[in-house]
Symmetry: C2
Subunit: 266 residues, 2 copies
């Protein structure tokens, strides 16, 4: 009887442990409204440490994380993120940066001929910073915090460079706002697995594949109001002509490449 | 008595759930040797689904995941990864790609004026693919699998484009090999938290900061043999002059930018 209980309890714990990670990942929602409650420093450090456990290129750790909690600095950051309210309302704003500055400084002090100011090192650093960011987000969510990524980070990279005093060799990659949730945020939909996953090699999409990939999204009644509000005929036009227009994408591409040149990376 | 038990049990489960996520993240090791055991298709799908729950830019989901299990295709991929044995020995090779092809095709079918073939969309897609990859890795590890990232993916992007038949608009970002571990891999060291984390704004590193950031790594006896083997004076020279040399970084930068142009992204 006791043995049975032990086995059942062991199995349950083992199963719980496996499941809770998947459950945490699958329960992700972008949280945009936060309570005023600050994040305990020990907890924040635990989360950042979890971020640092992510894989990175050759263990060079070519990234930095900037944690902004000061209202004045957040006010300065806000315009770079088109004044999205999360920047000033979240207790902590984390800016993840590609960083070849620290590693290059070390190499130079050690008389090593460093060459990390280039596109290849930058892109490795971009991936490294992103992996660390995602670990941070999962660790935060496992601790009851809510997060929101701000893709605006690369749009206005030059402004962020100025506000956060990023030296040459450091480029902002993504921003995450973190805080205790003050809303029951909706869970966003995803394309079906078969639309994202390719077996063996890439299988390019037929018109039929595209229709079935986007069918659920197109039929989501929540999207109808965006089509009406923007005077468009369909959801694709809302994405391509309003939210992420060609003109904007091309403008911000130029700005971003300029920022990379300014930071010595291109 | 019963109430006490309920409370204790509830607290324990709550605590377990929180901890197991952090524990899973903190237990990460790169696993390079795998058992022959295949990964069950339902499990692989569960892991990919977890990847798809990661945040992404505007829910456009500008990425694709290619799961290669066929020995023939893996043999073809191997040279692009400098024949690292994980490619052919892991049961599953996942190539995460930035992908503006699928979304653009949808927009064109819906008469929407799409403009995603540019640097800004590419870099958003690079971050999105990386976040999905990290979710996949944590979900895999939570299920007893081992993973290893291959940074070689952007080095030989053109070869990967050919082998995986990536059309214009699709660029490989990172590769993850997945399988049941057949080794007790070592845990790699990390810089101290204070070397990665900046408070409020970036604080550039003094010589003293650099010394304390890299001190533990420099004093790690495991690194001594690399210095001796490569006839170098110190660890920084091993990194900058052997593993990630300026000449190589510059060569692969050119190759990578060519690959981006070839895929219509620059």
């Amino acid at each position: 009887m006791l043995l049975q209980w032990f086995i059942a309890s062991w199995l349950q714990r083992k199963y719980k442990k496996m499941n809770s990670v998947i459950e945490t990942i699958n329960a992700h929602k972008s949280v945009r409204r936060y309570k005023k409650q600050a994040i305990d420093k020990a907890l924040l450090n635990e989360i950042i440490n979890a971020g640092m456990r992510a894989s990175n290129t050759g263990n060079m750790q070519l990234y930095s994380i900037i944690a902004t909690t000061d209202d004045g600095v957040k006010e300065q950051l806000a315009p770079a993120h088109f004044n999205q309210p999360m920047i000033t309302s979240a207790p902590v704003v984390l800016t993840f940066c590609a960083d070849v500055n620290r590693f290059t400084k070390w190499c130079e002090m050690r008389n090593a001929d460093a060459g990390f100011y280039n596109a290849e090192s930058l892109i490795s650093a971009f991936v490294d910073a992103s992996l660390a960011a995602q670990n941070v987000c999962i660790a935060a969510e496992a601790n009851g915090l809510g997060i929101c990524y701000l893709g605006t980070t690369t749009y206005n990279a030059k402004q962020i460079v100025d506000v956060l005093k990023l030296p040459k060799g450091v480029v902002p990659v993504t921003t995450v706002t973190v805080g205790y949730p003050d809303e029951d945020a909706p869970m966003s939909s995803r394309l079906p697995l078969t639309a994202i996953l390719h077996e063996e090699t890439y299988h390019d999409y037929s018109e039929k594949d595209i229709c079935s990939a986007f069918e659920a999204m197109e039929n989501d009644p929540n999207n109808e109001k965006f089509i009406r509000e923007n005077n468009k005929q369909n959801l694709a036009q809302v994405f391509a002509e309003v939210r992420y227009s060609k003109a904007n994408n091309e403008f911000f591409s130029k700005e971003f490449l300029d920022a990379l040149r300014g930071q010595g990376m291109l």
